[in-house]
Symmetry: C2
């Protein structure tokens, strides 16, 4: 109940009201069944409207997916960049990056699921745009890891590979996280921050 209600916060600046109801309905439906298995009638129905109303606010079903994907990717990228640019040691910054990135994936796991696993359904141009954002995401984490290796705080033989693995681990939270499970987003974030530090070979504590 209402656990996903906070999701409204993510789409607060989508107007008018009907467009926002449509986008949140689409997130739920895409996350549950996947983009291709979701019908425009289903989305409109969840939003309490007739099928045709969808096309007043969005040109196509794909545009709805693109809006979700674009907003989600930018939100995730901001989280990582904020951590990268924060004060503190590389360990502090990596820990904060993983903690907040994982927390977002768990808290908003419906949105995250669509963002991370449905991008293959995007049109060519939209896909290219999103792939560029994902490269930036990778670069943000790699910058932190490189800082740590340079300062001697981290010890890993393969920086790009380890970066990829850390990101992969975080992203996959969206796949398995269940709101009814026993772990809270905060707990998972804490656990994963610790695991990430071990992965990069952080010795201190």
């Amino acid at each position: 109940m209402g656990a996903e209600g906070q999701q409204g916060g993510q789409w607060a600046d989508v107007t008018p009201d009907a467009a926002r109801r449509l986008v949140t309905a689409a997130v739920e439906a895409f996350a549950e069944r996947g983009y291709h298995a979701t019908t425009t009638r289903d989305i409109a129905g969840r939003a309490g409207m007739s099928p045709a109303a969808l096309y007043i606010h969005y040109k196509t079903k794909e545009e709805l997916l693109y809006r979700i994907s674009s907003v989600g990717h930018r939100l995730a990228l901001d989280i990582l960049r904020r951590a990268r640019d924060s004060a503190g040691s590389p360990a502090d910054r990596l820990s904060e990056a993983v903690r907040s990135f994982v927390r977002w994936h768990a808290e908003h796991h419906t949105t995250a699921r669509v963002v991370q696993y449905e991008l293959g359904a995007l049109g060519e141009e939209h896909y290219a745009e999103v792939v560029a954002l994902r490269r930036d995401t990778d670069a943000a984490v790699r910058a932190i890891v490189e800082d740590g290796v340079a300062s001697g705080d981290f010890g890993t033989p393969d920086v790009p590979g380890t970066t990829l693995a850390v990101l992969s681990l975080c992203i996959d939270v969206a796949r398995w996280f269940n709101a009814e499970g026993k772990r809270t987003p905060d707990e998972v974030g804490e656990l994963y921050a610790d695991l990430a530090l071990r992965m990069v070979g952080y010795a201190g504590k």
Copy 2:
């Protein structure tokens, strides 16, 4: 080219020949576009047959997915159980489990993609069967981690959580691995075996 040709080995015991061609065609199509975006005409076409021929060998499109998912899950489970039951220290066994599990996900990433990411499209009964296999998968890895903690070789505060994370990390290889990329399945397996040992807090070497 032909990197996926080895895939024939996974389906060698599917007879007759036409049924095998259909299942490998379906694996390729499902991995590329996803189950719901793949048409029976596409599968039959890749196998060099008319759309109707599919229904001589399989009752529905869903049964085709089930066959793939079932075989794949059993293969993956066998790999982990063999590692769990092998001789050697917990570190040796965890290392071997992750190495071979990851190698399988990379080498057969098309099959693995279908196995790991399309199970939501299964019918209820088939889904339940596959979920049971996945629980066994988790149990196999957890047994190794518990052994390591009991013997004092590993040091992790959260055994189920760390087990989940290690498995999640391995599974996600199927999502990002690209046969044209610069990493070979062997290299990724080696890197990940090392990362997994760090994650469970393995001190020795």
